[in-house]
């Protein structure tokens, strides 16, 4: 379903997405898809030896469910930021429910942004993951038609901000490496 920034209001909820109980097969398929083959997610014996009562599902699955809820909410929205804190382990047989609501509607660098609060609960109403997302939306239908894109594009200014952040990380790392090799030379 397509939605537009002009029609969004703080407090609007995402459609609740309930998944069937998580199966061991699903966990294995997810491991294959995400290229993360932790024995704790795949091998019962291994998980028991490590102190767990069985294998558990990767926490990222809950983040995937809330991303799915965001896409179900607005198919023409671009998700620019997604974060989650994993609070409880997810076990095979758990039923997850993805929930979320709009907490802020704002403009930044000519982008029409929506901030969502997101969380995922299990069948006991325990929160297994708490998170947030920022989505870019078209202001209205006209805006979408003018852009001729499936979702809004990132502004140059936002992209420059991200590049600046990444450049800082890289320059700190190269300074650190040269400090280390200099120290080695002195020894």
């Amino acid at each position: 379903m397509k939605r537009y920034w002009d029609h969004m209001e703080v407090g609007d909820s995402l459609p609740k997405i309930v998944r069937p109980p998580i199966s061991r097969l699903q966990i294995a398929q997810f491991a294959a898809a995400s290229d993360e083959f932790s024995p704790l997610n795949l091998d019962d014996e291994h998980a028991k030896n490590a102190g767990y009562h069985s294998i558990y599902a990767p926490g990222l699955m809950s983040l995937g469910f809330v991303e799915e809820a965001l896409k179900a909410f607005a198919s023409n929205m671009k998700i620019v930021s997604l974060k989650g804190t994993f609070q409880r382990l997810i076990w095979p047989g758990d039923t997850l429910l993805a929930k979320g609501l709009i907490v802020r509607r704002y403009q930044k660098h000519d982008e029409h942004r929506i901030l969502f609060s997101l969380w995922c609960e299990n069948q006991n109403n325990d929160v297994v993951m708490k998170g947030a997302a920022i989505g870019l939306m078209f202001k209205d239908v006209e805006h979408e038609n003018r852009s001729n894109l499936s979702s809004p594009s990132i502004s140059q200014k936002s992209h420059e901000d991200l590049i600046h952040r990444c450049t800082q990380t890289i320059s700190q790392a190269s300074n650190k490496t040269s400090e280390k090799s200099h120290a080695k030379e002195l020894v």
Binding site: Q29, S81, L82
Partner: protein, 151 residues
Amino acid sequence: MTRQKSLIGMEIDSTLRIIEASQLTRLYHAFNQPNYFSQNVAHTTVRDESSLLLPCFLLGNLVNLPTIYRALGLNINNILLSRESVVNHRALRSGNSVTIKTFLKDAYEQQASSNPIGFIVLESIGYLDLDVAFHCERVIAVRGGFQRGRP
């Protein structure tokens, strides 16, 4: 000083990944929900491309996790994913080649009841065609804390 703390601020890994359509199809099966993972939906909703999109939540997993765990001396049995944060500026599609550089941003320990827990903060930057495509920050909890010894 632990091995992990001695590596703070440094680049831990650089890897080149090709996004495979089969990987995305497996993801669709794992979720048992076509939604935006399926080729059909990609055809109808993505006007400019007809290939499968990699969802945001999976971007952090493009890094070479086994190499990173080895470099940091982490035992996979003690690792739990604690927090994941992704900023995504360019859609990644099947067939794209992405270079991902991973840095150790921080490593610290906290006492939880009687046991220490170590926290590793990894920062990853993904490049597509020499431009930044995404930035990811991942916090990993290490049960039992870090092993002491010569870095």
